[in-house]
């Protein structure tokens, strides 16, 4: 008889436990990009990215609403959305990947991580390996990463008329803060 009680209780405990220490979602995030050109530096910030990390299988996804990048020059922001990113057609940039190192991420500490997966910007998939620093705390994670995006990789056209103003390579950096995922 006792077994009938123990089984569901065990299942419950395992479920809770697995849910608690596996999925982490964003509490705060800041993406910025920077591109240096002879005439002026182009910078923008986005605090609306969403992301989830599954610590048990080390998978992660990031989803950034492209139109939420804030530029100080609003005309530049308009051009970014209208002419380059076509953000009404491709509203999100995403990364879906997996941390390739064999790590025990349940222990607090600072880890150098590499994630390989698919980066989708402007509707174009690119297989990428992105590296970063993952800080595992008691009940929180911080992921810092920096990577370059080549416009040509994602079929983002640069019109000849304004060629000098736009760099062909853009540096993206991100700080993402995670807390345990709650449905």
């Amino acid at each position: 008889m006792k077994h009938y009680l123990i089984v569901p209780v065990l299942i419950l405990i395992f479920n809770c436990a697995s849910a608690q220490n596996k999925l982490y979602s964003v509490s705060k995030s800041e993406f910025s990009f920077f591109s240096k050109t002879p005439l002026e530096d182009i910078k923008a910030k986005n605090t609306r990215a969403n992301s989830i990390i599954n610590l048990s299988n080390q998978e992660l996804v990031i989803r950034i609403p492209v139109s939420q990048f804030q530029f100080s020059n609003k005309l530049m922001q308009q051009h970014f959305n209208e002419n380059y990113m076509e953000s009404e057609k491709y509203p999100y940039a995403t990364f879906k990947g997996k941390i390739i190192e064999d790590l025990d991420l349940s222990k607090p500490g600072i880890y150098s991580v590499n994630a390989s997966g698919t980066l989708n910007i402007h509707g174009v998939d690119q297989d990428r390996k992105l590296s970063g620093k993952l800080t595992v705390g008691e009940n929180s994670l911080v992921l810092e990463t920096k990577f370059d995006v080549l416009l040509v990789d994602h079929k983002i056209d640069i019109p000849k008329l304004v060629f000098k103003k736009i760099a062909e390579k853009i540096e993206v950096s991100a700080n993402i803060y995670y807390t345990p995922y709650v449905k």
Partner: protein, 291 residues
């Protein structure tokens, strides 16, 4: 049997979790997307569009209207003479904008404030149109005989600009307008004139568009010698500039001039070639923090 259940019970939730698509979990956001760039510039052609310049941004607008094309070769199809308007527009925040301008035509100074009341959105909150309100004041300073008082040379404009970006390429705007002139040039004219503008743009490429604008003055308000304003333009946008190459039947560029006092007629070839050039500057404090 029991042991199998126990093992299954312990394993199943774990494996089912692993299979859950993380992409789905990050996708259930309630993001609201504000439609931007309903028009490229703060003017459709002569009239205001729903757009304002962003916070701490300033637009410098240089506009020219040449003389009538039907003056023929001797006047080089109107290009020998021109009026201009120089304007500055500044965004207090992303919704409120202040502007001023000076036209050579009747040496007119104009001042206005423009506020984005409603912004068209999609996503979790859907708003079908953008609505911007505008209030303006203009005064002529050209010497006349007899010399008119400042009040007699003044006029006021109030407009509701209602626009919808139907698609990436096509936007349409309705602009119910009220213009009050303290003293009309033709004394049988109504001092307060009700009109409505309709304007649209059709994008040809990412950076060019065709615009059209018509300002309809409701009947029995102004003299028959005046015509409704009709304009077409071709817009080209490069980095920080918007160029509008246009044809219109009006010489002036303030609301009183082109809505209530347009004397040119398209039918007789009283068409003015002109252009608006707007150059955008940003005064947002530079963010020193480098990524």
């Amino acid at each position: 049997m029991k042991k199998i259940f126990l093992i299954l019970g312990l394993i199943l939730p774990i494996s089912s979790f692993a299979q859950e698509d993380l992409m789905k979990l990050v996708s259930d956001s309630n993001e609201v997307f504000v439609k931007t760039a309903t028009f490229k510039a703060t003017r459709i052609i002569n009239g205001h569009s729903v757009e304002t310049v962003g916070k701490n941004n300033m637009d410098f607008i240089i506009a020219h209207r040449f003389d009538r094309i039907n003056q023929g070769f001797e006047e080089f199809f109107g290009l020998d003479a021109a009026t201009n308007r120089l304007g500055l527009e500044y965004g207090i925040n992303d919704r409120l904008m202040l502007g001023l301008g000076r036209s050579s035509f009747q040496k007119t100074f104009d001042y206005f404030a423009k506020y984005k009341l409603i912004r068209q959105t999609s996503g979790s909150v859907s708003t079908p149109v953008s609505v911007t309100v505008l209030g303006g004041y203009a005064i002529r300073t050209q010497k006349t005989t007899p010399q008119l008082s400042g009040s007699d040379r003044s006029s006021y404009t109030a407009e509701f600009l209602i626009a919808r970006k139907f698609s990436e390429a096509f936007s349409l705007q309705l602009s119910p307008t009220l213009i009050h002139r303290n003293r009309a040039d033709i004394f049988t004219d109504k001092k307060t004139v009700i009109a409505t503008g309709i304007g649209g743009r059709m994008k040809l490429t990412k950076r060019t568009s065709l615009n059209g604008e018509y300002n309809y003055v409701l009947p029995n308000q102004i003299d028959n010698s005046y015509n409704n304003n009709l304009s077409f333009s071709f817009d080209i946008e490069t980095g920080g500039h918007v160029f509008q190459l246009l044809f219109t039947n009006s010489f002036g560029m303030t609301e009183r001039q082109f809505i209530t006092e347009t004397d040119g007629s398209w039918g007789s070839g009283d068409i003015h070639f002109g252009f608006n050039i707007s150059r955008s500057f940003s005064f947002e404090k530079k963010n020193r923090q480098k990524p």
